[in-house]
């Protein structure tokens, strides 16, 4: 019995002029073009921030207050401290609560309705737009003047950022703990450790790197957030005056100064962007290194 082949498949060599091979090349090229377009904004944004902001970097930028509208000179010293303060408040609230909640989900819940409810709630909370978090804290804390009769405070700003950080911290803790081999936990329980000792001495430390990676990313994200701060921490042209007064932050400074019609303010916005972007990218690269370190 003889078999006949179509003419084109006589040769087993790759024939680039075939229709299907041409289509393949076209689609590969298209995907390449799409990737280039996807990468282009990062390069352009970084380039402009580095050029426009980088040339304004000086000692004075970090040690001086911003100038009055329209005036030259000055720096972003207060905003730099403010960003650190507000992000620190947010971390001090969100990390303990988030890690605790994640421990509950991963270690103590056995898929009951409450855990299910918290998981779904966490996903919903993660999807809440950041501006809504700002409005919530405004309505609950700023408008009601809970903090010693003060309205806009650094503490309120920190709280708003904590609302945004919480879901990320819970999720990374939950997932990080689930990666820990069950044998470790069984071993600890087997030699007589209590559940509390097992979780705090064995499980949590073994999951340290994935949790730390997620936490670093959440902090970097919070440091760049603006929308939750504009009605909570507000802004201040002065040095920070404690936790219960309005405070300047770099992100709000960029927003305020970008839309001002004055050249010197616009330049400070670029300089603040430079500092903020360098800080956030450094945190991201650190998290990336941490992950790779853990993989080894």
């Amino acid at each position: 019995m003889t078999t006949t082949f179509p003419a084109s498949s006589k040769s087993l060599h790759f024939n680039p002029s075939l229709k299907r091979n041409r289509l393949d090349q076209f689609l590969t090229g298209l995907a390449g073009v799409f990737s280039t377009i996807a990468v282009l904004p990062l390069i352009l944004v970084l380039l402009y921030v580095l050029i426009q902001g980088g040339r304004l970097i000086s000692i004075g930028l970090f040690t001086q207050l911003p100038p009055a509208p329209g005036l030259d000179g000055g720096g972003i010293g207060n905003a730099l401290i403010g960003t650190v303060v507000v992000t620190l408040i947010a971390s001090l609230i969100a990390i303990p609560v988030g890690v605790g909640g994640g421990v509950f989900l991963a270690e103590y819940s056995s898929g009951g309705w409450f855990a299910q409810f918290i998981r779904v709630g966490n996903d919903i909370l993660a999807g809440v737009p950041s501006i809504i978090a700002g409005i919530f804290v405004y309505g609950a804390i700023v408008a009601t003047r809970v903090f010693f009769g003060q309205s806009y405070t650094a503490a309120a700003g920190g709280l708003a950022l904590a609302v945004l950080m919480l879901p990320t911290v819970i999720k990374t803790t939950d997932e990080g703990l689930k990666l820990v081999p069950r044998e470790l936990t069984w071993g600890a329980i087997g030699v007589g450790a209590s559940k509390f000792v097992t979780v705090t001495r064995i499980t949590l430390p073994s999951a340290f790197t994935p949790i730390a990676t997620g936490v670093v990313l959440a902090i970097a994200r919070a440091a760049g957030e603006t929308a939750p701060l504009i009605f909570t921490a507000l802004f201040s042209p002065f040095w920070p005056e404690g936790l219960f007064n309005p405070i300047a932050t770099m992100s709000v400074l960029i927003f305020n100064f970008a839309i001002m019609p004055f050249e010197p303010q616009n330049e400070l916005a670029w300089a603040a962007s430079f500092v903020l972007v360098v800080m956030i990218l450094a945190a991201n690269l650190f998290a990336r290194w941490l992950r790779r370190f853990a993989a080894k």
Partner: protein, 307 residues
Amino acid sequence: MLRRRPASDRLVDGGFRNLTIVLASFVAITLLAIFITVFQGAREAMQTFGLTFITTSNWNPVDNEYGAFTAIYGTLVSSIMALVIAVPLGIGTAIFITENLIPLRWREVIGVMVELLAAIPSVVLGLWAIFVMEPFIRPFLQFLYDAFGWLPFFNSPPQGPGMAPAIIILVVMILPIITSISRDALNQVPNELRQGAYGVGSTRWVAILNVILPAAVSSIMGGIMLSLGRAMGETMAVTMIIGNSNNFSFSLLAPGNTIASMLANQFGEADGIQVSALLYAAVILMVLTFTVNIAAQWIIKKLSLKY
């Protein structure tokens, strides 16, 4: 002989368990508090304006007349248009960096760059949009107006801030989300499927389009819905470049408004029933993002192919 655990030990054990339960319930408490605070504030406007709030578009603080149609329309149009542009770009990029088309080193570099793009704060993108991107694309928008001005979507001259630059900046913001979720989805497709497709003689793209993408479609769809939710709630960059006008216009070249940008712009200076009207708009935004996010979870759960 078995030794019983001392009482203090058991106390610590139970106490720690209860502590984690309390901390976990903070999620529910926060979520509930957000809903209550926003609804409570919005009640007055809900009773005053009812559903006409959604269908009318005059926003007049002097006469206390409020209608959010322009903002709702702006939210939907900007996010859906951004999605239409970002989805092919994102999925194309994801295929490019998962399917062995170029050397691994290059794929990793592109992947890292896309992830770093997601890390750039929204306010910095807004600054870039105001001073770099918008002036750069204005000649092109002018061309659209000159050539297609007879279409309602391009019937106003570009004058700086507007819907079109806002859509572009939204594309930049959601592209990394779509790309990284699609990449994870494609990476999870079992290699046997690829090998099987190649084994029966399909070319690379026949395999991608007919076997690999369909296997990953549920996660990719879920990711698209998640990024739609993100685009609708995105505030800072959009506020800085959309022009914040409450005048309704079909034109993409005209200034517009979204719910989030309206909140960012007016909430600080509003008082009386305007605050309530803004909170009513916030309720609408929450309902929109909530629906989209639930749909995303549902899609991921229900549509996943079993292979």
